[in-house]
Structures are given as structure tokens and as C-alpha cells.
């Protein structure tokens, strides 16, 4: 049996009759999904959206689009909660983002990011997301830009310039010779 855990409008049953206006779309952008209700699928533990209307005008969930897996969410949140103040960044992230479906995860990340930046003020977070106060990533100069103008950073040291010292010259007698030839006389002592 399905369980409706949340509604997307004030009065779903008033719109229920306006069948033509209700639409469950397969838009790739989750932020543009339009639905009347969230449905909980007890078999998959997923909160989903998507419904159709029966012959009598009743709403029947189709579980088309996964929103969040409640079981994964609970596991991640319990883990972070039991870790308490010692919770790692990874555990906190799992608690924030655990269970969200691929379609919704980017939206949720943006939203949580906006909330954290605005210190939890929901209105400000909405402004942050929708107005010009948000940093436009396309306008930020990145490391990959202007690579043909980069000045390379080369260390002043050149490796492998060592020439080994040798000591054999000190084994022999060095004689300065100003000319091209030199003669050496030896006294033959054993006459």
C-alpha cells in the first residue's frame, strides 16, 4: 500500500479533477519536475513522484521518479548522529546527501550549499539561488584559461651538472713546462 508522505500543493484534490493540467514529466532537470504529491514506495523504501488517475479520478502512484531512498538516508544519518562531534566530513556529507536520487542530488546540493552560505535563512537562500547575488561560475577565471599565456615556473637549479672530483693528479709530480717539448736528464749512478 502506498503512503503519501508529503504533498506538493495546498489542496491536491482540487487539482485532481483538472486532469489536463496534471503532468508527470520526464524532464531531465529535476528542478523543473512538476508533481502533485510525493509517494512513498514501501518495497524500495523510495520517496518518489509520479502518479496517474484512475477511472474514478483517484490518484494512483506510478513511482516514476525516485526522489530519496529513506532507508539509505536513515542509515547515513544514524551513523553521523552516533558519531556525534567526532563525525568526519565524509559522514556528515553522507547524512546530507545519502539516498538522494541522481536526478535530485544536484538540486539538493545547490540548495544545501545555498542554505549553508546564508546561515540557514531560507528566504535568503532562495534569493541566493535565484538572484544575481550568486557567483556565476562561468565568469570566474580558471587555471585552464589562457594556458597559451602562462609563464612557466622553472627552478633555477639545473640537475646533473656535477662532475666527479678526481685525485690522481696528486699521485704524480706536476712540472710546469713553458714549451712544446721538455727533456729530462737522468744521472746514471751505477758507473
Amino acid at each position: 500500500m502506498s503512503q503519501q508522505v508529503s504533498t506538493g500543493s495546498e489542496n491536491p484534490f482540487s487539482t485532481m479533477l483538472q486532469a489536463n493540467r496534471r503532468r508527470i514529466t520526464e524532464l531531465s532537470d529535476a528542478a523543473k519536475q512538476v508533481s502533485e504529491a510525493f509517494w512513498f514506495n514501501p518495497q524500495t523504501k523510495q520517496i518518489t513522484i509520479g502518479e496517474r488517475f484512475g477511472n474514478n479520478g483517484e490518484m494512483i502512484p506510478t513511482y516514476d521518479v525516485n526522489v530519496r531512498n529513506v532507508e539509505e538516508m536513515a542509515i547515513a544519518q544514524n551513523r553521523a548522529r552516533s558519531a556525534g562531534v567526532a563525525a568526519s566530513n565524509t559522514e556528515i556529507d553522507h547524512a546530507k546527501y545519502g539516498g538522494w536520487s541522481q536526478e535530485f542530488l544536484p538540486v539538493v546540493m545547490e540548495w544545501i550549499d545555498a542554505l549553508e552560505r546564508t546561515h540557514g535563512h531560507i528566504k535568503r537562500a532562495e534569493d541566493y539561488l535565484t538572484t544575481g547575488s550568486r557567483a556565476r561560475s562561468a565568469g570566474i577565471v580558471r587555471a585552464g584559461d589562457f594556458t597559451n599565456m602562462v609563464v612557466p615556473n622553472v627552478l633555477g637549479q639545473v640537475l646533473n651538472t656535477i662532475v666527479r672530483p678526481h685525485f690522481l693528479l696528486q699521485a704524480v709530480t706536476t712540472v710546469p713546462v713553458p714549451n712544446l717539448t721538455v727533456s729530462i736528464d737522468t744521472w746514471l749512478w751505477n758507473i
Binding site: 662532475v163 678526481h166 713546462v177 717539448t181 737522468t186 746514471l188 758507473i191
Partner: protein
Amino acid sequence: MGEFDYAVSQKGSVSRQTFALKKNIGHIAFSEEFDMQQYYHNVEQLHVNYISLQNEVSKNQKVGTELETASSASSNDWGALNGTNPAVSLSNPLDDLGNPGDTLYDSLANVDRIITGTRARRDFYTNSYLSYLRGMMQPAGSAGGMVSWGGGIDGTMEGVGGVKWIFDRLITATIAIIMDSQAVWFLDGPKRQAVYEDSKIGFRGIVSKDWHAVKTVQSTKIKKLTGVSS
């Protein structure tokens, strides 16, 4: 001499050896286009330094080659251990050095140099006969401070007096040379350095010339011991 015997006058003689020095050249050149570039390193200086240092290596190599032409005598292996009592060395290196040194001395040599590679020097130093000299039963290598890499000069070496022990990687590992430093001369001749320019082709050159030679002038005052290390 007996009564009325007299001595016939005698005269001595002098033999002359004449050597010609040989020219050694280092030569590099840089094109005009090379000078129109900017480099992160002083490429010209790297080349000049290399030539200068290689000239020194070349001189040492010639000395090493000349030293190894000395007449040879076979020696015991200083690193070998006694077959029946492997706790001690097979032979006494002081005998191996001492006997040919005596012969050199008798030929008027003033023995003041021993030249080896690095391995033969280690074998000498760790020989158990030398350990007894130090009052130690273990080789000096384990006492530390002995094993280092590269060449050098030991001004004083235990067991041998009055010599400089020169060790260098350019010397064959299995030999030791015992000599009078006057036996071999390094004839250090004139030097010329010049920078020239060829504008027609478009380059400038640096040429460095060094005339020198290494000659054994007293072959009876140097001996090569073979097989001192294996």
C-alpha cells in the same frame, strides 16, 4: 787496493729523455639565432663549465692510464679469508706492499704514494691483520667512518707510514700501485683560450686549448700489484 795499485779514473753519464706535449681542445659554438632566444638557464655557462670540468677529468684519466702501465707483480687478495680459519684474512697486505716497496727503495725510490680504487682500499682496511694493529678483532668497517663513496686521499693510513694513499674510481678495482711520486710526471704545458666570431656563417665560438702529457720518467720507482682485490 794493494801497494802500488792505482785507480783508473772513471766518468759518469747522463741519459736524456725528451717528451712532446700534446694539445687538448675544448670547443663550443653558438649561433646568432641562439643569442636571439631567452633561456631560463645560462646555457652557455653550463657548456663552459662542463668543458672545464671535463678537462680535469681527462687529465686524471691520463694519469690513471699511465700509472697502470707500470710493471706488475702479483699479490694476494686482501679481502680473501683464511680457508681453514675464516675469522682471519688470508694474507697480510703489509707484506704484499712491503716487499715490492723494498725493491723500489733499493732503486732509490722515496716511496710516498699508494694508489688504489675504492674497493681495494676497503679490502685493505678491513683486513684482519690491520685489525690487530688497531687492537680490534672486528674489521674497521663495522667501527664506522670508513665506507664513503668517491675518491679521496688518506694522508695517514694505518699500517703504512710516510705515504699518501690516493683512492679513485678511475683506477682498476683489482690493483694497487706503490710508487715514488717522482716516478711519473704530469707535464703541464701552455694554455690558450680564445673567443672568435664567424659573421659570415653567423656563430661565435669558444675554444680552450691545453697542452700537457703524462710520462713515466723513472720506471724503476713504480710497481703495480695485481689481484689485491676480487
